[in-house]
Amino acid sequence: MATVASFEIEFVRFLDPRGEPTGALPDFAREPGTLIALYRSMVLTRTFDAKAIAMQRTGKIGTFASALGQEAVGVGVASAMRPEDVLVPSYRDHAAQFYRGMTMTESLLYWGGDERGSDFAGPRHDFANCVPIGTQVCPAAGAAYAFKLRREPRVAVCMFGDGATSRGDFYEGMNMAGVWQLPLVMVINNNQWAISVPRKLQTAAATLAQKAIAAGIEGLQVDGNDVIAVRQVADAAIAKARTGGGSTLIEAITYRLGDHTTADDATRYRDADMVREQWQYEPVARLRNYLARINAWDKEAEEALHRECAEEVNKAVDAYLAVPPPGPDAMFDCLYAALPAALEPQRAEARRFG
């Protein structure tokens, strides 16, 4: 008998849960200003999430999916991307979207039930939220193919949850990325829950990262609550993709501290104790502790940041609330490049009934 293949899955972490370095930090993390920018983005996302949930509860927006506890995944990944790269997100990736330039007002418009939220100012080439789980992996591979064909040094970065890794689209898109060595970086936000179904019921595989092995690409795990680690592995994977080295699957281990969405009640399927325990690993406090440890952060800075974020979020909310709803023509305006004659009577009917 001979072994014809074997593999190992690396796990990357730089800060332990208390914010203590486990070894030498990567170069970018030696500059406190860089880390403070990441920290600020995570706090802003968390502030936004709390506000958005409150707005849903008071009927100001519709169903909303919070990123509570997973801020480091989006911020870490987005901070490793260039503007010309393309983000292909799920519906829980506003941390990454905000970092790249989508405004909070636009996100509120989307969750408030207005398509104009996806006509965002952020990189105009970024894809909009993808709701059908994991289907965005295939278009992401197609985007990466376009870059490769045109010899553009751009990378497609696709984000999705642990549940998506059970779907065919994930395997199929990843497989194509392997075959053609596409500049595609896939990031699993493994927050342990697909609504009520825990990670262990998604697959018997020991890691989700190892699914990359079957596609002939590199797969690795990262502590998704350590923004320095996420940024570092995303940096490496994106650089590799940009220089023709092909695709990478990153499994970011994190935890969904909130409900799946505002339409969900997680107490139906998981213990409060379990969630309480997970709070000791969350990413915001971890980086704050590190920043305090190196004397780059203090109580005043923290308070000022919270004030600033609250103000920014409130401004975004006001701007959102000031946007009047679209008229009925909006249903027809962008369906095709030009409205087919066959649809004109229906548009007229919609106008007539307002």
Binding site: V86, V88, E115, R116, S118, D119, F120, R124, H125, F127, A128, P132, T135, V137, C138, P139, A140, A141, G142, A143, A144, Y145, A146, F147, L149, A156, G168, D169, E172, G173, N175, M176, V179, W180, A330, D333, C334, L335, Y336, A337, P340, A341, A342, L343
Partner: protein
């Protein structure tokens, strides 16, 4: 001008557009070295390279999804699904992504892709190789659904489909691929995607069909002509958006209409046309609209497929019924 059959016309259109627009890429299973199982893409990889004519892994859903991403990033992908029986995994990408991309981003992004597939029965193919699911796509907002019935229309409509800024589903009847040849000038001239084609003028009866069934429909028109009945024949090659105006205009003249399609009857595209005639043409109708369609059954294996597909006799029977209605 060259005499070509329908599959050669498809090949000519693909080659023409690849030659003149470098953003056009062709992808699918066996489309490269093999030139496609029906040879629709033969010679393209040798001419335009393996980067633009991609043999994909065997995954129909991902072929469609890949095309969505390519199109969103400025390419014009023409994806081939080997048979319509295998097209169902693409529905998620076509319905949820391709058809909605422009709308859901308010025009920020668009999806200029074509999904080609050989369609229909009549070539003694194995199971799952004879379906006619055009109604699934014709029902979906944001798509165009095209089914040419001749080499010349295949050429001109495929060029139009590739150039169209929105997603187009393009079904090619396998039965027509090599059935007959026609003069096709390879001049890059596209045909319109939103009008019916009037194939024959007539005064007594309107026959409406598309795709391969126009063979039987035209044969029925010939037989009717021998009996002194003048039938107008309309090819609804572009099923969505539907040009109902041309059909209404014809029925205003003839007062009688028979709709012929190979797909099953219930919620078939014929139902939409019949409803349109009832809504907008009732006063010109002299007889109930007749439908001659595939039965509401699973498409049978080859031993029975000719009993399933509408025959000239069935069309003539429906025509008589429409003509004899007092």
């Amino acid at each position: 001008m060259a005499e070509v059959n329908l599959v050669e016309a498809v090949n000519l259109a693909l080659a023409y557009e690849m030659e003149h627009d470098e953003s056009v890429v062709v992808l699918g299973e066996d489309v490269g070295v093999n030139g496609g199982v029906f040879r629709a893409t033969v010679g393209l990889q040798a001419r335009f390279g393996a980067e633009r004519v991609l043999d994909t892994p065997l995954a129909e859903g991902a072929i469609a999804g890949l095309a969505v991403g390519m199109a969103a990033m400025g390419l014009k992908p023409v994806a081939e699904i080997q048979f319509t029986g295998f097209i169902y995994p693409t529905l998620d990408h076509i319905i949820n992504h391709a058809a909605r991309l422009r709308h859901r981003t308010r025009g920020r992004m668009s999806c200029p892709m074509v999904l080609r597939a050989p369609s229909g029965a009549g070539i003694h193919a194995p199971e799952h190789h004879s379906e006619s699911p055009e109604t699934l796509f014709a029902h979906t907002p944001g798509l165009r659904m095209v089914m040419p019935s001749s080499p010349a229309r295949a050429y001109g409509l495929l060029l139009a489909a590739i150039r169209d800024p929105d997603p187009v589903i393009f079904f090619e009847a396998t039965r027509l691929y090599r059935l007959f040849k026609q003069d096709v000038e390879d001049n890059g001239a596209a045909l319109p995607l939103d009008v019916c084609f009037l194939l024959r003028e007539g005064t007594d009866l309107t026959l409406v069909s598309w795709g391969a069934m126009l063979q039987e429909t035209l044969a029925a028109a010939d037989a009717l002509a021998k009996n002194g009945v003048s039938a107008e024949v309309i090819d609804v090659a572009t099923l969505k958006p539907l040009d109902l105006a041309t059909i209404l205009e014809s029925v205003a003249k003839t007062g009688r209409c028979v709709i012929v399609h190979e797909a099953p009857r219930t919620v078939g595209c014929g139902a939409e046309i019949a409803a349109g005639l009832a809504e907008h043409g009732l006063t010109s109708l002299l007889a109930p609209v007749q439908r001659v369609t595939g039965y509401d059954v699973v498409v049978p294996l080859p031993r029975l497929e000719n009993r399933y597909m509408p025959s000239v006799e069935r069309i003539l029977a429906a025509a008589r019924k429409a003509l004899e209605y007092a």
